[in-house]
Symmetry: C2
Subunit: 260 residues, 2 copies
């Protein structure tokens, strides 16, 4: 078992309306083969789709992209809102980001990253004849652990989970609860060659063809755990405050101390 | 920029006292070179260190390994405790796991995974003369996202973060808050060849030598965000309940309704 990941260098600066599939195929260091997976930084998809707003409108853009505020962190004068965005992804600033955006602008995430991934995969399959998968990646912080990792916000033609439920481990015991999120692992693996500073927005993964399939496989949206099933659907401070108000109101509604 | 990951097959079943460094070096498909990184499933380190208890003692083992219960999920009759373990890692069952453990037993995490990684890296460097890094991996669920990814719980001779603070993006803007956790990304990348069912507990990463350094680099313990600085240090239900009790008590202490 062996695979490789290579960064795709030399892509031009992407602007609205660019044919991203054609530009990526042109920049490839070697022809694609069946089973290759392209991991594409969602930022260049946002640029091709014209998902750019003026930096002055950043706060409004974050508000527009936010479905739900999950937690708020105040550090001195700055406030970071951890929010659930339209896509169900929980992170800082709803994916609205100035880095690698044209001067004076910020980038929003693609409207529908799974659809963007499907469109890219369709285009690249047509241009190359190779049955490839496409992942769209974004950079995200995590609960409990410092730093960020790249994760998959869009997927087409790639299994996002390696569903092992029902299989057995090396000793023959069932792997009951194991469902590795291979799409997130691939996005992180690709970050190691793409980097943030290097301007390499695409990586090609070769040797993991077992994860590639039809274009109608479930997308990255299926990785999102619905808030109502998440034990961490709300920040600890926010949940405490909500509980405090409910408890306070309840005690007041009950009137004088019971048994007093 | 290109790197490869290869699974190391043919390792024997590991038991207490085994010289893991020697066994891994014997099983390598090709000689190691300076800058290679070995990602080792922490399970085989646990086995070599004798961190095995009887399955009957599983609940007690989880309790012993737990520093703090973060959240509790009840599904029918079964209860999953999300806990912070001795190592600061937040996850289910404190890393106590039956999969790939000898029949009738469960495995605990290594006592000090950073020390275990350092010992392995020292041994492998001595045996091969190659300046390699070592990561110890474990499989973990996440907040907000379904499925699991492999993350790093031990590290030696590898930078766990690619610290970009102070660098600039491709447009020249400072990358203020970006600190990719490359150790976790590498652990996830290696999972893609190791798998859970395949019995391949070690992978060799070649081509990322820029991440390899001295054996006294900060370990994986530094990835853990201290609970007091974490917005999700407690499950939403647990925080709500704690707030509710505090609010209720406060209202009762205040006595009759103010202004009533």
């Amino acid at each position: 078992m062996r695979y490789s990941i290579e960064g795709v260098e030399g892509l031009p600066e992407i602007t609205e309306g660019d044919d991203l599939a054609a530009l990526i195929v042109e920049a490839l260091p070697a022809p694609l083969a069946d089973g290759d997976i392209l991991v594409v930084t969602s930022k260049i998809v946002s640029k091709a789709e014209g998902r750019v707003v003026r930096a002055d409108d950043r706060e409004q853009a974050i508000t527009d992209e936010t479905v739900r505020v999950v937690a708020t962190r105040r550090t001195g004068d700055s406030v970071t809102r951890i929010v659930e965005n339209r896509l169900g992804v929980v992170g800082a600033a709803a994916g609205v980001d100035a880095s690698n955006a044209p001067e004076g602008t910020v980038l929003l995430l693609p409207v529908d990253p799974d659809a963007s991934a499907r469109s890219l995969a369709t285009g690249i399959r047509a241009l190359t004849g190779a049955r490839v998968g496409v992942l769209l990646s974004d950079t995200l912080g995590r609960a409990w652990r410092e730093g960020q990792t790249d994760i998959a916000i869009g997927a087409a033609g790639v299994h996002v989970f390696d569903d092992l439920r029902g299989q057995t481990d090396a000793t023959g015991k069932p792997l009951a609860v194991t469902m590795p999120c291979v799409a997130d692992e691939l996005a992180g693996a690709a970050e190691l060659v793409k980097g943030k500073a290097a301007g390499v927005p695409v990586a090609v993964v070769r040797g993991l063809g077992r994860l590639v399939g039809d274009l109608d496989l479930p997308g990255a949206r299926t990785i999102v755990r619905p808030a109502e099933r998440d034990l961490f659907r709300q920040g600890a401070d926010e949940a405490y405050d909500e509980g405090y108000r409910a408890g306070f109101d309840e005690a007041q509604a009950e009137g004088p101390l019971r048994g007093a």
